[in-house]
Symmetry: C2
Subunit: 347 residues, 2 copies
């Protein structure tokens, strides 16, 4: 007997199988399977022998084979824009927790806001036969998913709707949040308000712009097109856009920032300027209350978005063929100071 606890009698890189365990315990293959899976119908004595063999060989069930046999992988895929974005941390974590409650693992990937990369990633996950997908879409056409959904991959879109297919969706109330934010600025006396948002092809960016326009229209204010800037959220572009609005022919007295990355850059730009400019940002962020003035934001509940999406996903996995659901998570205006600054006396 040369086997050790590490199973070193087998060549490096290969692992003991149930067959090896069975041979060592002197039982049949299926009996090992029964013990490993806690199935009934094994005498305590036999079970002990099998357990000893498992420990001695360092056996670990090969889930690839199990998955192949059973069809379910007990894993779900999460495709988002950028794992490093603080908005997605709590969301991922919430999805993970729900997955864990259902005994599933989470496979994670960033699309980097690139439709091609999203599709590549999603299809790779489908090839792995994940049971379900949570997608924060970068693409605007998801027909490539039709065969997958038809084959039973539960799919939930989060934060932005699916493109050109019907599917479960969980959204934040971007429109309402943006409208409330801009109305808030208007209530504090502002008439010339700028909006800096994300790329227009991103759904939330469009919704927030719509909220902005609606609030302005509701107050009877005309929007000067030089007050609106959509595009990359790279600091340079945002800085340029903000500066242009603040120093333009009809300078804005307040800014509405379309997401957390924009807000952060806006805060930096405004900090450099002599006179205070009102600011409301979409998305809350850590320490928003400690900057001076504290930043008024429209807070989204990222964790709730993730939790809702994952719950919906598992409901669909368990259950029957209910038609696609759409759920909306409310947003909440959090006044902290920056949004309550009045316009300058001469503005």
């Amino acid at each position: 007997m040369t086997d050790t606890a590490r199973g070193t009698s087998r060549r490096y890189g290969s692992r003991p199988t149930m067959k090896d365990v069975a041979a060592r315990a002197g039982v049949g293959l299926k009996t090992v399977s029964r013990v490993v899976n806690g199935e009934p119908g094994v005498t305590p004595e036999t079970e002990r022998r099998v357990q000893d063999a498992i420990t001695a060989l360092g056996f670990r069930r090969n889930d690839s084979a199990r998955i192949l046999r059973k069809g379910r992988t007990a894993s779900i895929g999460l495709v988002l824009e950028d794992l490093a974005d603080p908005f997605y941390g709590p969301l991922s974590r919430a999805v993970e927790e729900v997955a864990r409650d259902h005994g599933a693992l989470l496979i994670n990937g960033s699309s980097a806001e690139d439709p091609a990369r999203e599709q590549e990633l999603v299809l790779a996950l489908c090839a792995r036969r994940v049971d379900g997908l949570v997608i924060i879409p970068a693409a605007d056409d998801h027909r490539y998913l039709e065969p997958e959904i038809a084959a039973g991959v539960a799919t939930v879109f989060v934060d932005r709707p699916a493109g050109r297919i019907e599917a479960d969706t969980v959204l934040s109330d971007s429109f309402g949040g943006a409208r409330a934010a801009v109305a808030h600025l208007i209530a504090h006396g502002h008439r010339r308000i700028g909006f800096i948002g994300d790329q227009p092809r991103i759904h939330t960016a469009g919704e927030r712009l719509r909220g902005y326009r609606t609030a302005m229209a509701e107050a009877g204010l005309a929007v000067d097109e030089s007050w609106v800037s959509l595009g990359s959220t790279a600091p340079d572009r945002v800085r340029f856009a903000a500066t242009a609005m603040l120093d333009g022919p009809r300078p804005v007295t307040a800014l509405f920032a379309g997401n957390n990355r924009v807000t952060v850059t806006a805060v930096r730009v405004l900090a450099e300027r002599p006179r205070p400019v009102a600011l409301v940002g979409f998305d809350d962020f850590e320490l928003a209350d400690l900057v001076s003035p504290a930043i008024t934001v429209v807070a989204q509940d990222a964790a709730r978005l993730g939790r809702t999406a994952a719950t919906m996903l598992f409901r669909r996995l368990d259950g029957a063929g209910i038609p696609p659901q759409r759920e909306e998570i409310p947003t909440r205006l959090v006044p902290r100071g920056s949004g309550e600054l009045p316009p300058p006396a001469d503005g």
Copy 2:
């Protein structure tokens, strides 16, 4: 012919296989495999027929079966403390990027700083036969991994060393960073400096404490034990600890915060107090420069930690049996204001 583009002739939840494709294209199973994998030796005409059948049936290769056959899963596991912690976002993303460059997917899990949960997660990943593991350990005994590593699972520990086994490790220079931070405070005239850190069983917490003590000792300053508090980073506890140090019999004039969560709470506590207290935090965070005063920090390069770890992992996967490596990533003191505040005149 009742098959449609969705393969609806098959029952819901089941998917076409290579066998189905082969039958439809009128070729052998292996020929389909060759086409799917881009292997040579297939005439253009045959390839076209196979491709047509693939499209018509909505075939997608089942990677579970492929993995079972090939032995490599092209996936790596990442176990960290909390996906929602902003420190781990960039780290995860960096690991993901490297994995992507190597054609691997990332399976992600949070240990919630619970050793049992770490082990459960790691073993689940091993059962999936991930090719490698990147672990930010919560446990302090990793002997349970020995059979896995012996079986060829490339394993790299990040941010904290492995417990009771030899393994590849990538660490930040916690000791050096902490020492530099405290020396910085001392250079600005502080003599009574408090340290609030994470739970003492966490390696980095211990290293940072050691850095603190070393810097104090090097300056010939005795440490009053009421100035040191290790424990949970929950806001309540940190708040309590900070308040006790600031209002104690020998009140501190400066604080050194052991990680980003502590720093954030410390900033809040100090903001409520009438007179300024110097503060240096371990870990950088967004907007640290915009709080007033801006927060001096010891910055760690989380992305570089992740990148280095993942690179090391794939080097080991490709390569031979080099002995375990240990790499240290430097930290960097970023003075921004809060660390340069002098002690009060009467302090």
